[in-house]
Symmetry: C2
Subunit: 271 residues, 2 copies
């Protein structure tokens, strides 16, 4: 998917919502557990009810991988079920030496047909650039994550006072463009999103940490939005586990509608 | 597997060889391609011929993942075929927020029964520690990798002149012990292995980059060996693709024997 197509969808739906698919057998409603593929049934129902309000779906690969080869079959079914005009994110946090990264890229871009994959930057250029060689596919590079551990290394300042995440942003600008490179930028640090935006004015950010993880959607939009919106704000648990009963998909829809309504206001304000 | 068990095996075999399993359909001998699971047949033959000389096997997960759910079935079969007294490394380079890392750990330590997994440090403590909570299982943390891109971030010096990889080594010492935490340390930088050894005297290193990637085994042993050997030196292509013909497994054995013979000399010299 191109940036123009993604932006068109954002405008059409007045939404920059990504719905995170973290399907946990212990958390999905009990009545689904007797189905032949409960995880697929769960994701399918969530997608059907939220697709009008979401511009992206982000399956968390670990939740599928934990189920072994069966989980990979389910992941493939889920990917194929997502409407083709909606952006898909394989949240896999991969990254290895060149020929190995190429294989990960093939796994998610060819064996499956995801639009994008999250990638870890620690191993540098040759671990990231193989993912950027696929046409109309995207890298979403970890820059500033929203977890507590992000402070361990990402905020370490170099000899010139520049934190590591800024080096990741700057260096990676040589590898990709706003047409194929996004960044993971956590929402738990409202003001830092503004700092990141100054360094990379044009790239999209994937923002986790709104809702269950405590970030403010208004702050994210205030500090992070650009002329192409430039934001995909993800909510996982706040939507998919809003109800653990038979009404889970309808309640997920209600939560998605609420977020979309907030996003519509923010798009009108800042775009 | 415990560190004592691993060390006992090293002494018994006079070897610290890890054989990397990077099975690529385009590179395996043509006569295997008509089999029902060529990748498994290939790995099985390699393991049968090299098991007397190797103390570890390191399947590169990307090569299996690129084949989708079928690849995961093959990976599981390969893991189960490796003799139980040999250390197994899932070279997966995973790492995510806490509950997600726990799921990756379950995928490799419970759904499958690997002894260890390679983990990327960028997201910090809560991305790594979930893997350390599994009894007799190991994290092999990326510290100083052997690829060109390792220079992009791993060598950035902080305000006190300390490179990032040293911060990773020092910080992670708070998370695990030499009984459950190893480090990836590239062999292309002989003298740097000595620097790493000073910081973490007791932990095992997984050393890629010997052979095809150009590092010197003698230098690795000189700078890196400790009283428990403390080294697993990996060779992938140099062994498994030494011949592309019907004799591939026998030739792999010959290459493994050569490396083991060199290692025996080095163990006698330094241990």
């Amino acid at each position: 998917m191109t940036r123009a197509e993604l932006f068109a969808q954002i405008q059409q739906k007045s939404s920059f919502l990504s719905v995170g698919l973290d399907p946990d057998m212990a958390k999905i409603p009990a009545h689904l557990r007797s189905e032949s593929d409960p995880i697929f049934s769960f994701c399918k129902a969530i997608i059907e009810e939220t697709a009008d309000y979401a511009v992206a779906y982000k399956p968390n690969i670990a939740f599928f991988e934990a189920l072994g080869s069966k989980g990979w079959e389910t992941l493939q079914k889920v990917q194929e079920f997502i409407p083709k005009d909606i952006f898909t994110i394989a949240d896999a946090k991969r990254g290895d030496i060149g020929n190995t990264s190429t294989l990960y890229a093939k796994a998610f871009f060819e064996t499956m047909d995801f639009d994008s994959i999250t990638v870890a930057p620690y191993m540098g250029a040759d671990s990231v650039t193989p993912f950027l060689e696929f046409r109309e596919k995207w890298v979403i590079l970890l820059a500033l994550t929203s977890n507590v551990g992000s402070m361990d290394f990402q905020l370490i300042k170099d000899e010139n006072g520049k934190p590591l995440y800024q080096s990741v942003l700057e260096k990676s600008q040589e590898w990709g463009s706003p047409e194929n490179l996004m960044y993971v930028v956590g929402a738990t640090r409202g003001e830092l999103i503004g700092e990141v935006r100054k360094i990379v004015p044009d790239n999209f950010f994937l923002v986790p940490g709104v809702g269950a993880q405590g970030g403010s959607l208004a702050d994210v939009a205030k500090y992070g939005m650009n002329a192409h919106c430039g934001l995909l704000v993800n909510s996982s648990r706040g939507i998919i586990y809003a109800s653990g009963e038979k009404d889970f998909a309808k309640v997920a829809r209600t939560e998605a509608v609420k977020l979309q309504a907030e996003m519509k206001v923010l798009l009108e304000k800042y775009l």
